[in-house]
Every structure is written in C-alpha cells, then in structure tokens.
Amino acid sequence: MKEATSPPTHPPYERLFMRVSFAWVVLVSTPAAVDVRSLPAPNGLARLIDLTFLTDPQLLSVLHTVLLIALGLYIVRILCWLALPVALLINVGINTVINSQGAIHHAMQIVSLALLAQTAAHFYGLWLGCRAPRSEVSLEEREISWAQQAVAAAYFVAGLTKLIATHGAWIFRARFMGVQIFKTAYQEYYNQLDPAGLDRQVAIAQFAAGHGPLIALIAGLGLGLELLAPVMLLGRKWGLLLGCAFVAFHLSISSVMQLSFVFHQLLVLIFIVSPIYWIVQLGKGGAHLVRRVTSP
C-alpha cells in the first residue's frame, strides 16, 4: 500500500497560493503580543519546559520578526528545513502560553497541527530523499497532502470524541442545543455589553429548546460530516463537495452560536477546496467554449 502523495497533482500556481495563504494564516494565528505575565495552568509543551520567558513583550516582538522571515523563506521554498521548524516552534510556543491561562482555546489548534504535519512531511521527505533522490515538487506534494490530512484529522477527531465523550448518545443530547445557544448569546453580549443580535439569538435558543427532534436531525448531519472528513482526501471533487459543506456548516453554526472557528474554515478553503484551482479550471473551460463558439 503506497502513501497517497504521487504523482504530483497541484500545479505551480496552486502550490504558491497554498504557501502564501497558509503563511498568512500562520502569521495571524501567532499573536505578536500576549497580555499575560505568567502561566498559571501550564499546558502542552509548558508542562515540560517553563515558557514564562515567552511573555516578555520584547522577546515576542523579536520572535514575530523571526516568524515573518521564516514564513518568507517558506513561501519562496528556500531553507524550508529551517523555516518550517522555526515557524512551528514560535507558533506552538506562543499559543501554548495563551492556552496555559486556565482556559483552553481551540481556534488556532488546527493551524499548529497543519504546520506540524508540513514540518514532519518535509523531514520525512528529506529522509526518503537520502535513500533515493526525489524532486523538490514531490517533497512539497507530500507537505500539502499531510496538511490536508491534518485538517481532516482535526474534524475526524472532533466527530469521534463526540461519540466517545457521550457514549454514542450525542444525537439524543443534541435536542438540548438551545441551552448552548442561549449561553453563547449571553457570553457574546457580556464581552462588550453589545446588545446587537442578542434578542434574535435568544429567540433562536428558545425555538431550538422547543424543537428538539428537528435540532437533533440538523446536528446529526454535522456529526456525519465530521466522521466523513477523511473522504475529503479522496480527490478534488470530494474535497470541493465536503469542503464547501464544512464551510457552510461553520457559517450556519456561527450565525446561531457565535462560534466561527474561522481558522478551520480558512484551512479547509486553502488545502481542501482550493478555490484558485477551480477558478482557473472555470476560466479554461470558458475560454475553450468561447473558442469553439467563435471558430468558423
């Protein structure tokens, strides 16, 4: 059974689009400043190493510059063996500090996972290259494939753990979703005491509380989608179909529960849907059609 990375499937313009957009996502998901001075509840790497030094504003500023340089090198594919681990360490280190305040955030986790997957893919590719020379393109194709797999894994794990955490009873509990909608509506309100949308959210929450079976059916579709996440890897058409379904799923949840998971959506778009590829294909199809119509 061969690993699903060959033959090369991504044209150069698409690989460039993926590198530039992923580098941007890594940059914006790595805070340049953290407004904390300690790590009261160490998490992840901070359980092994004291990362308090990463709360120093001056050091963070330097690290952000280093991250910018590393991501620049990643985009132009120079010294990737150095750029990828440096970017990974900075991204994971700073986000670990944020996650060590007693509250675990899950918004950026998918970005770090994809970066980890790309770094691992790069070094695995280099190791394979030592045994039998391989092209730079095949190295990058593996990085893309592993990043796609990381995105699929993030969703698949979310689906599996829903079933594990509730002993399979998640669907039956989904009828109480109204309670969560109510909670998130008020949590959003208390962030800035902004009443915009509060009444609408509360009305949706009460509607959901009163229509349990309908809500359970909708939530069941979401769970099914998460468990089907590995199918996104089976080809571009599956990626387009399920990727768009995931984005729609996030947008609908976001409008109801104020939980946008924007980095999840961005990574699905960058690595799974890849809109630039489909735009180019549409353009080519359109040009071909025009040629056929206008030719004598």
Binding site: M1, K2, E3, D35, V36, R37, P40, A41, N43, G44, L45, V92, G102, A103, I104, H106, Q109, S112, L113, L116, A117, A120, W146, Q149, A150, A152, A153, A154, F156, V157, L160, T161, K162, I164, A165, W170, R173, A174, R175, F176, M177, V179, Q180, F182, K183, Y186, Q187, E188, Y190, N191, Q192, L193, Q206, A209, G212, G222, L233, I253, M257, F261
Partner: protein
C-alpha cells in the same frame, strides 16, 4: 443465509475496497494525528475537544459586575466571557479535587472558592492593572445557571464572589 446475503451484496469486496482506500499507510498523517490527539488529549497543539458537543440539559456562564451590580464588559479585563468561564471552571474543579468533603457539605463551596480564585487572577492581569479608575473595588463574579425545562431555557443568577 447471512453468508449468502453477504456474498450477494458484495460486502466483502466493498469492505476490501474501503480498507484499501483508507489504509493507514496511505494516510499516515491522518491516522498519526488522530491517534496522537486521542492519546495526548488537551495538550496544545493536540486536542481531543469535541467541538459543539456539550449538549447537557443544564449549563452556566459567568459575568462580572461592579459594586453597584451593573454588568461589566469582559473585554475590559483583557479576556473573553467564554475564556473567563473556562478559567472559572478549571479553578472550580481544582477546588473540588482539593477538598471534596467541603463541596459535599456545601454545594456552593466550590463556586465561592473558584470565584475568589478568579478575582485574584483578574487582579494580576496587566489589562486590569492599567485601568484607571480601577475596576476592582466591589467587583462581583456572577453565575447564571441555565436549565432546559419543558421546551424552554430558564436562567437564574447568583453572586458567587465579591471583592470588598
């Protein structure tokens, strides 16, 4: 009969095809990261967090209020309301782990302990120390309990901790 049906529906072939499509060697990162997330649980960047999963009949959130009982925006403290609730909950669990007997004798004990610990945490935040006038005098932590009851969500509010 079951074997015949199995054969007729070509289930064996279907399962073989499925196994070939999703063989772990074909998708090493998918399987590797799935296993790591499940084993390492909540250790950044790994997570076994089931997004949108906590669908219980009851839940709660917390918010802050000043000495006059007026609600305060959580962003003023450099936090978000869900983030602050997670900090409160982790302190509440720590308090229960430390002294389960106290919680058994008084069901509000862990809430009070977590509220007091949260107030101490807030005092140390740079965003709070920068605020003039100070947000701290009379600061209250309020807990709103939510309960699904006969197709409606009901809410009740309680003060769990207050600074002098």
């Amino acid at each position: 009969m079951a074997a015949g049906l199995f054969h007729r529906l070509r289930l064996r072939e279907g399962l073989r095809h499925f196994w070939r499509l999703f063989h772990p060697r074909r998708w090493p990162a998918l399987f590797g990261l799935t296993v790591l997330c499940l084993l390492l649980q909540e250790n950044y960047p790994f997570s076994d967090f089931p997004m949108y999963s906590s669908f219980a009949k009851n839940s709660y959130y917390i918010y802050l209020a000043d000495g006059k009982g007026e609600a305060l925006g959580t962003n003023q403290f450099g936090l978000t309301t869900p983030g602050m609730k997670k900090i409160f909950e982790s302190k509440r669990r720590a308090a229960i782990r430390k002294d389960i007997t106290a919680q058994e004798q008084d069901p509000f004990w862990a809430d009070r302990a977590a509220g007091a610990a949260l107030l101490r945490y807030l005092e140390g935040l740079p965003a709070v120390q920068r605020q003039v006038p100070s947000l701290l005098p009379g600061l209250e932590v309020r807990r709103v309990n939510l309960l699904w009851k006969a197709g409606r969500v009901e809410a009740t509010t309680r003060i769990v901790a207050q600074r002098p």
